[in-house]
């Protein structure tokens, strides 16, 4: 792990250039460890932690601490002594493929039946590498190579909340109306970020597992109405 400053109020912990579960698990392990240090007030001035595929960025209040103090602290800890894996959950999220926007095109481009694409997607045990960009937005992997595809040439200006997209080995879910360049293969009625929930606003966490469960358009609509 390489430690350095990013700006004057951030520290970047870099675990190398690969994107895989093993490296990401180390990132998430350090994330949980640092979160605990904040909760137990062992390190002052920490404001935010942003884990990504292969890096953890720690943001702090420059009035209270600095990057040297944080780097010195992390260098001294033996992370192999900690394992927070047991905290992670397994989710089953409903998906309706009838509401896809790009399944037809994907079928042509990937030379696979729509049924086959759906079956591969449904049988994938996803791992949530990170959550971010916008609130509640998960980046998940890994898709079967047969479904590898690139971003849309022209991103859509407006996607509705719940759209499920794929790009390369990754799958995402758009929690809010937003622009987006991923290939939309279906839609979920599950709310990923609830601004009314002060305790646990975000459903998913980095490191969680996720599988999709097929629902019909009728089921989708009745679940949407329950919200």
């Amino acid at each position: 792990m390489k430690l350095s400053n990013i700006g004057d109020c951030g520290v970047i912990c870099d675990f190398g250039n690969q994107v895989n579960r093993e490296i990401n698990s180390q990132v998430i392990n350090l994330f949980h460890f640092m979160k605990l240090q904040i909760e137990e007030k062992k390190l002052v001035g920490l404001l935010n932690l942003a884990p990504s595929y292969n890096k953890l960025i720690i943001n702090f209040d420059l009035k209270k601490t600095n990057s040297k103090k944080i780097i010195d602290f992390i260098e001294k800890i033996d992370l192999s002594k900690f394992n927070f894996k047991n905290d992670n959950k397994e989710w089953e999220i409903p998906i309706c493929y009838d509401l896809s926007l790009d399944l037809e095109n994907l079928s042509k481009n990937l030379k696979l039946d729509k049924e086959e694409i759906i079956n591969i997607h449904l049988s994938t045990n996803f791992f949530i590498y990170m959550i971010g960009f916008i609130p509640g937005h998960p980046f998940m992997g890994d898709l079967d190579e047969k479904l590898y595809t690139s971003r849309l040439k022209t991103p859509r200006v407006k996607l509705s909340p719940g759209c499920v997209g794929i790009v390369e080995k990754f799958c995402n879910i758009y929690p809010f109306q937003s622009p987006g360049g991923w290939n939309i293969i279906g839609k979920t009625p599950t709310k990923l970020f609830d601004t009314k929930n002060n305790e646990r606003p975000c459903l998913l966490s980095p490191g969680d597992g996720l599988k999709f469960k097929l629902i019909s358009k009728e089921e989708f609509e009745s679940l949407e109405n329950e919200k």
Binding site: S4, N5, I6, G7, D8, C9, G10, I12, N17, V19, F31, K35, I38, L47, N48, L49, A50, P51, S52, Y53, N54, K55, L56, I57, N59, L62, K63, N66, S67, M130, I131, G132, F133, I134, P135, G136, H137, F139, P175, F176, S178, F193, T195, N198, P201, C202, S205, P206
Partner: protein, 318 residues
């Protein structure tokens, strides 16, 4: 207080509730957000005798036109702002920024425009009656987080206040605006992705602030910055003030409401001490970047914050 509120007769531009921001949720994709200009935020609460993190209303370029209904309140506008008070007898009084005023039933505040800056603030004694989410009332419109269902304040909205004023004393704080257009930066994590010539250009040529600037980011225009390694990186966490360079070679400075994760290489990062100055730069301003080291940046922030503390202690009763 149901009987004390402001009626919004004109919303102004990008008018939102803000405070110091919402921390501890970045791993769920929630950026801290909060007031763009921390200095003006601290000043307005000091003028009003509020706690330093009391929520205020932020506007860009043009502020709202508000009519007060109720018995008595106290307000202030901070920044470099042109505004009038129209009292219940329809008399127009020119307002001074960075000064508190008493306000009574039927009075109006017309916040006409910022002068050579982008953001200004409006606050009241005791703060606004709004619900917080995760210990903050900051509005993040793209995820509908914050009061008013996470939306900007709009025409006909009612802005309720917590308490009436207890005294008629008013205060002011005098300070000079910093119009220097040199922004000091630290090297970014992908500094070495850019050609030697482009690195030189970045620190010697001027970069123009364009109209495509908001709470999320500031798009610049200038000499194209050439990437010799890769125009995409594995998405990683973003810090406020990061200067990313997408494939077109034109830099974008990521501001307070930035996405939490991004995949463009970052050539530099604006130092914390220059952030307040940066966000007030209007389109058309030509910025120059100067590279300094971490120790200098830390020292400059200390000075910057000491200066703000001195300013706040310089509160004068009128």
């Amino acid at each position: 207080m149901k009987n004390n509120f402001f009626e919004v007769l004109r919303s102004g531009i990008n008018t939102t509730y803000q405070d110091e921001g919402r921390f501890g949720l970045q791993h769920f994709g929630v950026v801290p957000g909060g007031c763009m200009d921390e200095k003006l935020f601290l000043i307005i609460n000091k003028l009003l005798g509020n706690k330093s993190n009391e929520g205020v209303i932020e506007f860009a370029y043009q502020g709202p036109l508000l009519k007060f209904h109720g018995s008595k309140t106290k307000f202030a506008v901070s920044g470099d702002v042109h505004f009038n008070i129209i009292n219940s007898k329809n008399e127009i009084i020119n307002g001074d920024s960075n000064k508190s005023y008493n306000l009574d039933n039927g009075d109006q505040i017309d916040i006409i425009s910022t002068k050579k800056s982008v953001y200004g603030y409006f606050g009241v004694y005791g703060g606004f009656e709004v619900k917080s989410f995760y210990k903050s009332i900051s509005t993040l419109t793209k995820a509908n987080i914050g009061p008013n269902n996470g939306n900007k304040i709009s025409l006909s909205d009612k802005i309720f206040i917590n308490i009436e004023r207890k005294s008629n004393n008013t205060f002011h704080i005098n300070f000079k605006n910093d119009y220097d257009d040199t922004i000091r930066v630290l090297k970014g994590p992908q500094y070495d992705y850019f050609s030697e010539e482009s690195k030189k250009d970045f620190f010697s040529k001027e970069y123009l602030v364009t109209n495509l600037s908001d709470r999320m980011g500031m798009r610049l225009e200038g000499k194209v910055i050439k990437n010799t390694v890769s125009t995409n990186i594995r998405s990683e966490g973003i810090t406020k003030g990061a200067i990313q360079v997408p494939a077109d070679g034109q830099p974008i400075i990521l501001l307070t409401d930035h996405p939490t994760i991004g995949g463009y290489p970052k050539i530099a990062n604006v130092i914390s001490a220059d952030y307040n100055k940066l966000i007030q730069k209007t389109p058309g301003t030509k910025l120059k970047f100067k590279c300094i080291n971490l120790e200098e940046a830390e020292k400059l922030y200390k000075d910057h914050f000491n200066n703000i503390s001195k300013l706040l202690n310089n509160l004068k009763e009128i």
